[in-house]
């Protein structure tokens, strides 16, 4: 897959495949419900200097895990979408409004997920989709903010992702968002913790390789939120970042922090061109 891997000796790779517990069909294509075509591999966006092709994390999962995402009745993440449809129509807060009162049908939100995080002109800040949802709740509905990466928020994120499935991620990195993007890029390449590892060490230099039984992906976030078989719940982007920095024996940033908003913008932009795919299934 990458130059380093090839020179890392074909023997090493073959042996790792023999001892690895799961097999991925890295050439498989993803079609959901027999109708939604998902782009799981495509040319890297021009701003990426060291990678030619970008891949959804789906590509690196086992055939069994891949299959769970191909049918909404098999995808455990879709149960949470149903919960969010109910919340979408529920009136909350002092203004006596629901999401539906301003936005109509959830399907009307198709394409929205693909552009986040993005610059919000009024607030003069880069907002993740979670921040925007809370913006609507506090500013439009007079309701309480949901906890970042909490259950209600992840359900709603799953709904918003699901209606954008198949639409290419297209996050703006220039204009007023540029300085946050630069900040995120710097974090991506910073080696953290006592293991002294950056995101790039694992997800740019070594995707396709195994760390023990873990088959490394490019760490893309086009498919969030993800339903993980490991913890049997929806998982948010920034919680995932937190887990990865913790695994470097590092001090993590907080979910919702400026650093993680910047990192989310940057990592999202590395997926420009892949389809929105959430809620996805991962291990």
């Amino acid at each position: 897959m990458k130059k380093m891997l090839l020179t890392g000796s074909a023997v090493g790779i073959a042996l790792a495949m023999m001892t690895a517990p799961v097999f991925a069909d890295e050439d498989a294509d993803l079609l959901i419900n027999g109708e939604i075509e998902i782009t799981v591999r495509t040319d890297a966006p021009p701003h990426m200097e060291n990678v030619d092709t970008i891949y959804s994390g789906w590509v690196f999962r086992s055939t069994e895990t891949q299959a769970l995402e191909m049918d909404d009745f098999e995808n455990p993440g879709m149960i949470f979408v149903d919960d969010a449809i109910e919340a979408w129509e529920t009136v909350e807060g002092t203004e006596g409004k629901s999401c539906a009162d301003c936005h109509g049908d959830p399907d009307g939100m198709a394409g929205v997920r693909a552009t986040y995080p993005k610059w919000n002109e009024d607030a003069e800040e880069v907002r993740t989709i979670a921040m925007q949802v809370n913006g609507c709740r506090t500013e439009q509905m007079g309701a309480e903010a949901w906890k970042y990466d909490g259950g209600d928020m992840l359900n709603m994120e799953a709904l918003l992702a699901s209606v954008s499935r198949g639409i290419p991620v297209n996050v703006a990195i220039d204009g007023p968002a540029q300085s946050m993007w630069e900040k995120g890029k710097e974090i991506y390449y910073t080696r953290f913790g006592q293991l002294d590892l950056s995101c790039a060490n694992c997800h740019e230099d070594n995707y396709g390789n195994y760390i023990r039984a873990d088959h490394l992906s490019q760490g893309q976030i086009n498919a969030f939120p993800t339903y993980r078989l490991k913890n049997a719940q929806l998982n948010g982007v920034q919680s995932r970042f937190k887990g990865c920095i913790r695994d470097t024996r590092g001090e993590t940033f907080a979910v919702g922090s400026e650093e993680f908003i910047a990192l989310e913008l940057y990592v999202a932009s590395r997926g420009n061109g892949l389809s929105v795919e959430g809620p996805s299934v991962r291990n």
């Binding site: 890392g8 042996l15 006592q194 694992c202 390789n209 760390i211 920095i245 913790r246 001090e251």
Partner: protein, 156 residues
């Protein structure tokens, strides 16, 4: 008086022979080698083998394939196979690589197993919280000697 001097002399010799080198005091050659035992003692290859495969210790097979360790699944392939490494590399080279592989391979992903300073946001082990107080190295001086001894048994 004479007796005291002899004792003092032996004590100095002993502490010199068994002196442990602290992580911040290791002195690499220009090629990243370390000639002296870190613990002042020889390593035990059997103990080294256990450290190689233990997740909470070296966990070397997370990144390296080693045919002699096949009974311990699963081996990663982020680093090169270590089969025959004992015939290719000297003890001094192996020690240097384990202590701080960046002195041998610039910018490598391989963590430094005997280094305690100059990290960005070091944590308190795998808790995600900030480290409270000085860091301990990932492996002790003797554990590194044990791993070096084990690697020397891997001959072509």
């Amino acid at each position: 008086m004479k007796r005291i001097m002899t004792l003092a002399c032996i004590a100095t010799m002993a502490s010199a022979a068994f002196a442990e080198t602290a992580p911040d005091d290791v002195a690499f050659t220009q090629y990243g080698e370390l000639e002296q035992s870190l613990s002042g003692q020889p390593g035990d290859p059997e103990a080294g083998k256990a450290i190689m495969v233990a997740r909470g210790k070296g966990n070397c097979i997370a990144c390296h394939q080693v045919t002699a360790l096949e009974e311990f699944p699963f081996h990663g392939n982020v680093g090169p196979s270590l089969d025959g490494i004992g015939s290719r590399r000297s003890a001094a080279e192996l020690r240097g690589i384990i202590v701080n592989a960046k002195m041998t391979f610039e910018g490598t992903i391989m963590p430094a197993f005997y280094r305690v300073s100059d990290f960005t946001r070091p944590g308190d082990a795998f808790t995600g919280k900030a480290a409270d107080g000085p860091l301990s190295p990932l492996l002790t001086a003797q554990e590194i000697e044990d791993v070096v001894a084990y690697l020397q048994t891997l001959q072509d």
